[in-house]
């Protein structure tokens, strides 16, 4: 997690990028991989991800002068633009949404609960997660795989903080009922 000073420093870079686009390079290099992974999980297509990722950073650079400090890290804003780009892509193409979750991520999720790691359980959970509604997968991904707090999740998905908590609670409740996995909101046991 970034400290408030670090967040403000990033905002200063963003503000500077409005006058001098070259300054944006630092943020681009820092967050490109994370945003790429975030989009890739929702598309499962490398070339499409590269296009959407470029578009995300291009939009960010184009609108950096308009962005105001709202207490969340700059990266949350990138995630928000990326999520919008992915939504736009699916609306335009009218395709079924894909959510690819890596096995390692599922293992991490199980590690957060008290349950014993079982190969069969991992496979079942992987299949089950693929069937979960998109809004639940989005919050699970941001909360547990991207390690974002609820304020940031709310900002990224353009919902209220209580809404983000509710969605996470519902998703975790489903996992608890179906797999007896007891994972807390904050990922602690």
């Amino acid at each position: 997690m970034l400290s408030e000073d670090e967040i403000r420093q990033e905002y200063a870079i963003l503000e500077q990028s409005g006058r001098n686009p070259e300054a944006f390079g630092e943020l681009y290099e820092k967050y490109y991989d994370k945003i790429f992974h975030f989009i890739y999980r929702q598309t499962d297509d490398e070339d499409l991800t590269a296009d959407l990722c470029s578009q995300t950073f291009l939009n960010a650079l184009k609108n950096c002068q308009r962005f105001e400090f709202r207490g969340v890290p700059v990266s949350s804003w990138f995630y928000r633009i990326a999520a919008n780009e992915v939504n736009k892509h699916y609306r335009k193409e009218k395709k079924m949404r894909v959510f690819s979750i890596e096995e390692t991520r599922v293992r991490e999720l199980i590690e957060m609960s008290d349950d014993v790691m079982d190969e069969e359980l991992i496979q079942r959970l992987l299949n089950y997660l693929k069937e979960l509604p998109t809004d639940m997968l989005e919050v699970l991904e941001l909360r547990f795989f991207e390690d974002r707090d609820f304020g940031e999740i709310a900002f990224i998905l353009n919902i209220t903080e209580s809404g983000a908590k509710m969605r996470t609670y519902r998703a975790l409740d489903r996992l608890r009922k179906n797999f007896n996995l007891s994972i807390k909101y904050d990922g602690k046991k």
Partner: protein
Amino acid sequence: MISSGRIAHHRNYSELMRQHDKEVRLKRVLRVFTYFLIILFLLILLLIVLRWEGKQPHKSNPQSTENLNRKSDFKRGIGLRV
């Protein structure tokens, strides 16, 4: 899971800068063109109004002439006699 090497293959900041410059230039051209269209529209409108005014016949206004006469009468002292 996609490897860092594969991601690095797609990461290209100079390409992003090139696209950004292109968009900024396009935006500037579009703005200049929009201003040009607005000015052209106003000029055409002005020309139409001038031509329309030129075509209008000059009308005499009897009432206003009468008023003028009364004023001049007043100046000459005729008005005081009433």
